[in-house]
């Protein structure tokens, strides 16, 4: 039985459809009112675990799930010791620095950065030798510069609509983000017979996606 950790929510739904279309269906995943968090399908030999997106890599790292799908942002922030097998090519967005429209940076003072991603922000600014002050928030990051809590924010930007509505704009793009297939290191040894066909099936999907 291959154990697959999926992020609850929109990304998870999309990932499940992809897995289903490549031979890993699970009837319980499609039932409207099923609120269980562990869903098995004996016939396709899989067990789906629905977990908080930021916890997917933790389940995989500790071997509670053999493989999982998680955003690159979560992987970079968590620094989890897992294999990153495939870029699934969806959930695309960018990790960006955004500031109020017309913002001028004061280089004589540390930059105040509000973010859900302190590790990524620290690494990025350390690479530029810029002194910063991190303000760790858990949501509504866009509010921080408006209220003067921070100078800039570091966050993922999909369309930029939320930024625009809050009079913010992207000033720097740190790196592109997308959904990644990850695997536990020991599972790659003991569950190779189950993981390799899954990887091969998804690889054809992503190479088709790249061509399209």
């Amino acid at each position: 039985m291959l154990s697959i950790a999926l992020p609850k929510g929109r990304l998870g739904d999309k990932v499940y459809q992809l897995f289903r279309d490549h031979g890993y269906p699970c009837a319980a995943m499609e039932a409207e009112d099923d609120r269980r968090l562990v869903l098995r399908d004996e016939a396709s030999g899989v067990q789906y675990l629905l977990v908080k997106p930021s916890d997917v890599a933790i389940y995989v790292e500790h071997g509670a799930a053999d493989v999982g799908v998680v955003g690159k942002d979560v992987l970079l922030e968590g620094g989890n010791d897992v294999y990153e097998l495939l870029d699934l090519g969806f959930g695309r967005c960018n990790m960006c620095v955004a500031a109020p429209v017309g913002f001028r940076e004061d280089l004589s003072a540390p930059l105040r950065v509000a973010t859900k991603y302190p590790a990524i922000a620290k690494r990025y600014y350390a690479g530029k030798s810029r002194e910063i002050e991190i303000i760790k928030l858990n949501g509504s990051i866009e509010l921080a510069p408006i209220l003067g809590l921070s100078d800039v924010i570091v966050d993922i930007v999909e369309t930029g609509a939320t930024l625009r509505q809050n009079h913010l704009e992207v000033t720097e793009t740190i790196l592109p983000i997308s959904a990644r297939l990850i695997a536990n290191k020991a599972a790659m040894r003991f569950q190779a017979a189950a993981i390799q066909p899954l990887l091969a099936a998804l690889q054809t999907q992503t190479s088709e996606g790249a061509k399209a």
Binding site: I58, E61, H62, G63, D81, V82, Y83, E84, L85, L86, D87, A183, N184, K185, A186, A187, M188, R189, F190, A192
Partner: protein, 370 residues
């Protein structure tokens, strides 16, 4: 009588000690701490760069040892023809893999230093296999040779910094970002195509070796494969090759390791439990002429998989009255325990206590409670 109160882990360390000693490895004991500078200078050899440091009364910065091998190498003989075979069971202090907190980790391992020849390499590799086997669980030993990837990168003319960047993606089996980085570096296609394959070059020994042979572009790569081929043939002849797999994505630091590298996994444990390799270059850093190979077993990683939660807190709960004769009671309790049972003597059962059976003291001996 069976070793009654020994946990599986204790029995494993006992068996490993006998195994290592039977092949002439002597126990190496060391202090808990070394000078901090030792680890600062060799931080890339360490699994994690964080070291627990403190100042000694002379104002010298010391560290609780995060690694055993550096200390052993420091003590190794200088001469090329000397041979030292040692084993150790030591605690090291590292950051926990998943929490920003220092933990004490128990390691057991062997090192052969000095005149390391083909026999020594095969012996240490066999010891690694036997070590996993003694754990009594399904296991896999992944093997690779640093000369293969390093040879390819050198042939492609990549500098150390570029190699380190590519190594990071190869280790994660991250083929997509590896390919992107290779393309960005503008590596000539005859090398780029082959470097791209390194992340996925893993699997059964003979088949992966065949795939690797098609990638050889320089003598260093051919020599690495030859060495792997020979080792595999030897271990096959001994009937020990079943657990071997090849994985060229397994790469240690090039500044220290050359030659054979290997990592062990056991069923039920999510992380590497055994790690080792050939580290002649570390010896050079300490001005030692000889070569070296060794491995260590992370006993902590085995704690959960070897645990056997007992259904019973004791075999016998031996109940007595406060007014019972102490000498008679003492004799009876010890007589019960001498029979090989776990006995808890008490006036009443502790909370939530589960004993296989309960006996009551009648003034002379213990009787079944009816």
């Amino acid at each position: 009588m069976e070793a009654l109160n020994q946990s599986k882990k204790d029995m494993l360390t006992g068996s490993l000690r006998s195994l290592y000693q039977s092949l002439g490895y002597t126990r190496f004991s060391m202090r808990r701490f070394e000078e901090y500078a030792l680890y600062l200078e060799n931080k890339r050899f360490l699994k994690s760069e964080s070291v627990l440091a403190f100042t000694n009364p002379d104002g010298k910065l010391m560290a609780l040892k995060p690694d055993v091998t550096l200390s052993i190498v420091k003590h190794a003989p200088k001469e090329r023809d000397a041979l030292e075979k040692v084993y150790y069971k030591e605690s090291v202090y590292r950051l926990a893999p998943t929490a920003r907190e220092f933990v004490e980790i128990e390691q057991m391992g062997v090192e052969a230093l000095g005149a390391v020849d083909a026999y020594t390499v095969a012996e240490v590799l066999r010891l690694a296999i036997e070590t996993l086997r003694l754990a009594g669980l399904d296991h896999v030993l992944d093997v690779s040779h640093m000369g293969f990837a390093a040879g390819l990168m050198d042939a492609a003319g990549l500098d150390a910094e570029q190699q380190a960047r590519l190594f990071q993606f190869i280790r994660q089996k991250n083929a997509h970002e590896l390919a992107a980085e290779v393309a960005r570096m503008g590596i000539p296609p005859q090398y780029a195509d082959k470097i791209d394959l390194l992340a996925g070059l893993a699997g059964s020994f003979p088949e992966t070796l065949r795939r690797a042979e098609a990638m050889v572009v320089c003598p260093a790569m051919a020599q690495a494969l030859q060495e792997l081929h020979t080792l595999h043939a030897q271990l096959t002849a001994l009937g020990l090759a079943d657990c071997l797999q090849l994985d060229f994505s397994m790469l240690n630091d090039l500044g220290y390791y050359n030659g054979l590298v290997f990592q062990g996994y056991v069923q039920g444990s999510p992380r590497v439990v055994l790690s080792g390799g050939r580290y002649d270059l570390l010896m050079r850093r300490f001005d030692k002429q000889g070569d070296a190979i060794g491995f260590s077993l992370y006993l902590d990683e085995l704690t959960h998989v070897l645990a056997e939660p007992s259904q019973w807190d004791a075999d016998v709960l031996a109940l007595y009255q406060p007014q019972d004769d102490v000498a008679a009671l003492n004799a009876a309790v010890f007589a019960l325990a001498a029979g090989g049972q776990r006995v808890l003597a008490a006036t009443q059962a502790p909370r939530d206590f589960r004993a296989r059976k309960t006996l009551r003291f009648d003034g002379q001996s213990f009787q079944e409670v009816t």
